[in-house]
């Protein structure tokens, strides 16, 4: 049995900004056992899953995959990619399969084996299963309902280490996974080789954003992770970075609610007893993290779904008149009322939604903004209209925009237009749809390899 395994992490989000090459090439000089990268995040919002469309430029995705594939093939070590093309839909997995094959041809790579793991859910099957066994709300407020599923365009299940381990144990050189837990991408290989599951998962959690675990902050720089029988070690490949006990601990809580526990399929990662120590002044050692299987032995996966709520249009208006700025609340209320008047036969909230993002007042924080009086000499208003009826959305945005030009307020001096427009109606031109998260629930599986949820395809590439 191996005493240590090493992995290189070079990006926290494959393809959203290209991997920095100098520290990557420094890293692949080391004695590596596997490569891994997470490509996904719910941080992107619901649009890309809902519309099943790419988030990143394909050139950057290909750039990152090319670096990883060439290093993986040159050294004969496996690589694991999670949440292909950001959302991990079936088309995202297929898209990455094609990119990998294309790179293999371009570089005349020798033969290797790809495992594609699909985790997009058939919505009819989801509806059936939801009626048979109740889903648990995770972030959502209530168990899943039929109407949630009907409001969904695409849904995925988030795999853990089990599915990746199956693909690796069947000899896959390149694993391209659908929606996947970010830590699992790094944890599956060591767990398959008998390393402690708690340590492996914590290694994954700590390293999945690459150089964000190190200090001073840099992005897309490579970090070397090494797991042993009783600890893991993190070493930055950028010469100016350090991984300190503090930087790992601080990163272990990043983007999460609770720094001590992390739910994963089949149990939790418990970090209450974790020890963060300095191995050298730039290598940190972490030990004591434990995996605790779920008390009732159940295995649940997170479901993620998003669906279209209608068409969305924006208009942009600026106000520089300081007298108008002082009365901005009144002007906004007047504009909304005018829309309600003119579109009296439409119900606000149902037929359309109208929002003002008022930069200079509360454009960034909205309801959370504690500062009530603006100190700004100008404000910018982004008018957002969402409606199932595209023409209605456009008409409302136009009306709202013009109303700012005809605004009336105490002390008014202008009579030629109370707002500045960026162009005239060009902001209305890019016609797009709006999406929302519809599913954020847990589905209990009797078998982690449930074929209705996870499907495997093996194929050869290279020559």
């Amino acid at each position: 049995m191996r005493e240590r395994l090493s992995v290189l992490s070079s990006t926290g989000n494959l393809g959203d900004t290209p991997i920095e090459e100098a520290s990557f090439y420094e890293g692949i000089k080391r004695d590596l056992d596997y490569l891994a990268a997470d490509a996904g995040s719910s941080d992107l919002g619901p649009t890309f899953l809902g519309s099943d469309s790419p988030h990143n430029p394909v050139e950057w995705e290909k750039h990152d995959l090319e670096l990883l594939l060439l290093a993986s093939r040159a050294r004969g070590i496996p690589m694991v990619i999670g949440s292909c093309r950001s959302t991990g839909t079936d088309s995202g997995v297929d898209f990455f399969v094609e990119l990998i094959r294309e790179i293999a041809v371009e570089h005349s790579l020798g033969r290797f084996r790809i495992a594609a793991i699909y985790s997009e859910l058939d919505l009819d099957i989801l509806k059936e299963r939801m009626e048979r066994e109740q889903t648990l709300p995770l972030e959502a407020d209530e168990p899943l309902t039929a109407s949630d599923v009907e409001a969904t365009d695409h849904a995925t299940a988030m795999m853990g280490v089990e599915q990746l381990m199956v693909a690796l144990s069947r000899g896959a050189d390149v694993v391209l996974a659908g929606r996947c837990c970010d830590d699992a991408v790094y944890a599956a290989y060591p767990i398959l080789h008998g390393f402690d599951r708690g340590l492996a998962l914590h290694l994954g959690k700590a390293i999945e954003c690459a150089s964000l675990v190190a200090t001073p902050q840099r992005v897309k720089e490579s970090v070397l992770g090494t797991i042993t029988r009783d600890a893991f070690y993190l070493e930055p490949m950028h010469p100016e970075q350090r991984v300190t006990p503090h930087s790992v601990a601080a990163h272990s809580m990043y983007e999460r609610m609770d720094p001590y526990t992390q739910a994963v399929p089949g149990g939790i990662l418990d970090m209450h007893r974790t020890r963060y120590e300095a191995h050298t002044d730039r290598i940190a050692r972490v030990s004591g993290s434990q995996f605790i299987p779920s008390a009732d032995g159940t295995y649940s996966v997170k479901l993620e779904g998003a669906g279209c709520v209608g068409f969305r249009v924006f208009h942009i208006v600026g106000i520089r008149d300081t007298i108008a700025v002082r009365h901005i609340e009144k002007i906004l209320a007047d504009t909304r009322n005018k829309v309600r008047d003119v579109f009296g036969d439409k119900a606000e909230g149902k037929d359309y939604q109208l929002f003002f993002h008022t930069y200079g007042v509360d454009g960034v924080m909205g309801h959370l903004e504690p500062v009530k009086e603006t100190g700004s000499h100008e404000v910018g208003i982004v008018i957002e209209v969402v409606s199932p009826d595209q023409e209605l959305a456009i008409s409302i945005a136009k009306l709202a925009k013009f109303r700012f030009f005809y605004a009336q307020y105490p002390g008014q001096r202008n009579s030629s237009g109370g707002g500045a427009a960026i162009l005239t109606d060009e902001p209305l031109l890019p016609k797009s749809k709006a999406y929302r998260w519809t599913i954020d629930h847990l589905l209990r599986l009797d078998d982690p390899l449930d074929p209705e949820v996870f499907r495997f395809r093996y194929l050869e590439a290279g020559r």
Binding site: D43, G45, T47, S252, F355, G366, H367, P370, W437
Partner: protein
Amino acid sequence: MVAVPSVPITSLARTVRSKNAKTRHITLEIIFDDRTTYERVKATGIITAESIAGLYRIPRENITHFILFDPGMAIKITMRRPRVSGDPGESDVYGCQQYAPLFQIEIPWQWPDGIIQEGQ
């Protein structure tokens, strides 16, 4: 009685940030560089779930987690988002600009004599 001078949290903390915690929560973090400062700030009891709720003018129950995370020398507060990330009308899809009100936190503080601190 002589009033204890106070300093803004930005003079004491290395990092003050916010970020999405999944799609329905925002997590705020105040991270310190050295243990003494962290422990002293903690001991003042100025930063609590209640004081943060007051700062953001939100009900206390909207704060779901308040954690003093010793290994990270950090105070971590997680709250429900008023709107789910990316929903129509939502304005900070990454949740990364919601920490600014934390800058108003003042900590009663007496620097040791003769030491001039940066950022005061």
